[in-house]
Symmetry: C2
Subunit: 288 residues, 2 copies
Amino acid sequence: MMEQLTVKNLVKKYRHTMVLDNISFNLEPAKIYGLLGRNGAGKTTLLNIMSSRIFPTSGEVRIGGEDINNDDDLLSKIFLMSEANLYPREMNIHQTFDLADAAYGNFNYDLANRLLTAFELDGKSKVTNLSTGQRTASKLIVALAVNASYILLDEPILGLDANHRELFYQELVKTYQEKPRTFVLSTHLIEEIQQLVEHVLVLDRQKILLNDDLDTILAKAYAISGPAQLVDDYVTGLKVLKSEMLGNIKTAYVFDKLDDQRAIPDQVKINHYDLQHLFIYLTDGGEK
Amino acid sequence: MMEQLTVKNLVKKYRHTMVLDNISFNLEPAKIYGLLGRNGAGKTTLLNIMSSRIFPTSGEVRIGGEDINNDDDLLSKIFLMSEANLYPREMNIHQTFDLADAAYGNFNYDLANRLLTAFELDGKSKVTNLSTGQRTASKLIVALAVNASYILLDEPILGLDANHRELFYQELVKTYQEKPRTFVLSTHLIEEIQQLVEHVLVLDRQKILLNDDLDTILAKAYAISGPAQLVDDYVTGLKVLKSEMLGNIKTAYVFDKLDDQRAIPDQVKINHYDLQHLFIYLTDGGEK
């Protein structure tokens, strides 16, 4: 039975700088999450704490109610793919598979070897000799083939060209369907992962700003366009993230439930807008 | 008067490796180009030759018929923003502006200072101390404010979060409208630049695979879906880049002019697909 991962009241300070400010959320088993945040929002620190690479100032990460730091069995349920290169200098790609097998057991060598071919990699290549895109691909293979329940991916598409990004998205969906487990994708390419993720966490200025199902979020993202006065009347009382004028036409980007009772004037058009723009409007001004 | 830039029969070999294999194309004045290619296709080498940072094995780059390497005035019409950090260690952002002003003249300090604020940068920061995203932003500011007719951008969005990418796209359009000049965007984020570029160059396996206006290209990109037999009949004689089966429904991704004379069966649906997928289907299998 797979159990929930709980992040509870997590605080991380470096000297006097607050990096994570009382973060709490849950990860369900067998779900694909998007972790979004501007540069400097604290995403990498959060993922490092969730995989016990660094310790929080206070707060806990639990699986099934048990602190992960007190239990090696729990730690071996969590895998982090990160930008940091933790492999010894002389290690080749095949050996990184063996390392994942030794640490987590039951490594999926069949999948990994098939993906080596798909990503056009030679398993005998040393990891340190790979280009950025190749190194990312080799790490993605480990992340997709490792036997863990919670797989955290920090910038999983760094340096990949469009073809290899598409390949990764397809293989992620395929392995998830065969063996459902939890993936957390932390990336700036929001437009591309919108099709993959079920649930979205937005970190902004060291806090959780949004934590909801993608469908619920997108159902509140409306662009309302028309003559300025009509648009202003219509959006009164709604949460408007941003508005633009083009000639006489105003567009208001709303993040709210629309009141279906009210009549919509003929000249006013209502459209949905996408997750990437919602993210931008929600977090503008939030870079450190 | 602005003159055309001509790349003619460019060849670049490193020992026995062909990096560019007889490349020819023109860049028109005042146009925004997308330069697309897989990792290893030769994009960076091409841009380095076009800005005279490296020399070709054979072939030429000309402006108005004159070889750029014979004429410093012509060289000062071309600016390359690249991943390589060419600035001295101790140089701060303000000083990189002065360097661009000294080399190209008439640097747009007003724009540059406004963009420093927009990208949340401190002009007194040393370039070497910046994060990847901040360094990219500081280089983009120089590229948008420099006084050159041909501005080549190699991976201009490296490390930028979605908000700063959107800011860059908006500022590029704004400065282009105020003072039309030629930009070449070389990037893997094809989906995002589709809205910006007028003309597309695709480099694949060391050669030019595609060189056409975006509108002309997209007008030939059709996804044809329906019962397999009907789709197969319809696409006979057309160039099919890829096809997929989902249950009994086949989708063929065509890159060709459709013959409007032929009747389309009711069960067959025809939709356009986007530049990023066209690129992927055209170049799959083309990574070095």
